[in-house]
Amino acid sequence: MATEIEIGGTGIARAWRKFLQDHASRISDLKYSLFLFRKNRLAVLGLALLLATLAVALAASVLALQHPFYVSVGSDLEQRWNTDLSERLSPPSFAHPFGTDQFGVDWYSKVIYGAGTALQVGLLVVIPASLIGSLLGLVAGFKGGIIEEAIMRITDVFLSIPGLILAIAITGVLGRSIVHVMYALIITWWPWYARLVRGQVLSVKERQFVESAKSVGASPSRLMMRHILPNTISPVVVQASMDFGYVILTAAGLGFLGLGAVPGTAEWGVMIYEGINFLFTAPWMSTFPGLAIVLAVLGFNLFGDGLRDILDPRLRR
């Protein structure tokens, strides 16, 4: 217990100072983490790229020169862009910084709107996959016995099929759609989290603080939620931030292969594919969406790397 210092003042200021005092050790820890992160130049670059992608996605309607509209095709809404046949396949210029496609659609605006698509897919894949996988891994590691055996054998089966191959097969069976891409990627990604979290739980379970919590009579659910879960979370966070980039890369890959978003959508993979037909007459069509992918993936990757360095206590001091 820290020694009590008399706290003066009233109201919010008083509460704030009490908060600072009560959490002093955590705050200094956080400050030290931030210091470590700032010292890692690559991690800061990663964070900058990541925030830039997010900012572009959120401010797309301000940054873009043209804007999409939506028409309903069957039960789906499809994205469309205004065409301008007098501007078709024109190279990068002030009016069209990234050039135009064969219908005269401004490629810069589509790359900008593509950031939103990429982040959406990343979010809707990484969050469910990490939740499902972590939960199963937590249960497996904590319960042991036949439940653990069953969960881990299923995990092994999924991991024995090369990820992209399974994803292609799933989208091939279900049919071309960006929603099916998300299903496919969740199905291919959750097992990694199950394996990661189970391993983590097994090692945390043996530590002394769990032993002592058990000996003073903590219930199994309290042990799991209060003592084991918090100590398994940091590798999951690191993995999730790295995976965010890989998911964006793979989802765009499926789009490139003609299994994801429909042509004409502002999705980076589909845009690279559309450029292939005009590889030598309009090389900018494939170039710019690919650069966008590289920068976004780089951002998440470097950020995740930096995060690992500050969250891993062995590397800290």
Binding site: R153, I161, P162, L164, A169, F256, L257, F280, N301
Partner: protein, 342 residues
């Protein structure tokens, strides 16, 4: 535990995994959103023919019976008939396997030596320019999509190298002329067997760009792992001892240290097989390489359901066996793996 005991034990663990994989492909078969018999026969086929096919495929039976029928077929080596050309899937796939293997082989021939060498040098010359360059390559390797790299290489060769007259590398296919007589299915080997050096050069030129594209990501992974393995080993006492007794630095790095860092390189080779199999699909579609990756993709786009699932099974078996080989090599190099297992 003896080595053969270890191998046997690992082989036995493959059985439940492979059964599990057939369950996944079976579930996918049942998840097809359309009537597979109708999709196979086409919309114009008479209803009674389609019905006959439904009976032949056991589509009216219980799920349990269907799965046993499916497994029975698989055990007899029958992956079903292709939805695309109505031939057996296996006889569609088999002739295309050498093309994919040849591509993967040359990709690794590029990635492994370059990756290992850069990894070693990068660790030995830590924080010098070669280390910075290598780490930059390693970072690019994970962030640059293989499909975009292939497209960019094509543009670069066709546009920029053309400007200085160096655009001699072909951009598509395995050969422009007729293929050599088939012995191995590897055009670069078959052409030599046929005694046709001109054809060998042509085949080699065709494989250069796809192999570099496919190898780049692998190179980055190998580089990263070799570097971290080397850094760990270089800090150990026996390395200092070797240096202290006056062993030349080159000898210390390549002989004393690398010997013990090979484990980390070996660990990733299993991973790179999976990455290469996935990358094949992209590379073959970009460079119109007539292998199983391209076949798989075309089946996925055209609704070739049996083709897709057959490919998944074949590639998974290949992947699992490759990982087994890596594990066995590991056990041979490191007896602790075997002893710890019992």
């Amino acid at each position: 535990m003896k080595l053969w005991e270890y191998v046997l034990r690992r082989l036995l663990t493959l059985i439940p995994v492979l059964i599990g994989v057939t369950l996944i492909t079976f579930i996918l078969w049942k998840a097809i959103p359309v009537d597979p018999a109708r999709a196979y026969m086409g919309p114009k086929a008479p209803e009674e023919d389609v019905e006959r096919l439904r009976v032949a495929w056991h589509l009216h039976d219980s799920l349990w019976d269907q799965y046993f029928w499916y497994m029975g077929n698989l055990l007899r080596g029958d992956l079903g008939d292709s939805f695309v050309n109505k031939e057996p899937v296996l006889s569609n796939l088999l002739p295309k396997i050498p093309a994919t293997l040849e591509l993967t082989f040359y990709a690794m021939l590029f990635a492994l030596p370059v990756g290992v060498y850069l990894g070693i040098v990068s660790a030995a010359k830590r924080n010098q320019w070669i280390d910075h360059t290598s780490r930059f390559i390693a970072i690019l390797g994970v962030a640059v999509p293989i499909y975009w790299l292939g497209v960019m290489l094509k543009i670069f060769v066709h546009e920029d190298l053309a400007a200085i007259g160096l655009n001699f590398l072909p951009l598509d296919g395995r050969l422009d002329s007729a293929p050599p007589a088939t012995f191995t299915g590897f055009y670069t080997i078959d052409s030599l067997i046929a005694g046709d050096p001109g054809k060998f050069i042509e085949a080699f030129a065709h494989i250069a760009l796809p192999a570099i594209t496919l190898g780049f990501a692998q190179l980055a992974i190998i580089l990263r792992m070799t570097r971290s393995g080397m850094l760990e080993v270089l800090g150990q006492d026996y390395v200092r001892t070797a240096r202290a007794k006056g062993v030349a630095e080159k000898e210390v790095v390549f002989h004393h240290a690398f010997r013990n860092a090979t484990n980390s390189t070996l660990t990733v080779s299993g991973l790179t097989v999976g990455a290469a199999l996935a990358g094949d699909v992209y590379v073959e579609s970009i460079f119109r390489w007539n292998g199983i990756g391209q076949y798989f993709l075309q089946s996925a786009q055209a609704g070739g359901f049996t083709d897709l699932l057959g490919y998944v099974l074949i590639v998974t078996i290949f992947y699992v066996v490759a990982n087994l080989v890596v594990d066995v090599l590991y056990a041979m190099l490191d007896p602790q793996v075997r002893l710890g297992g019992s």
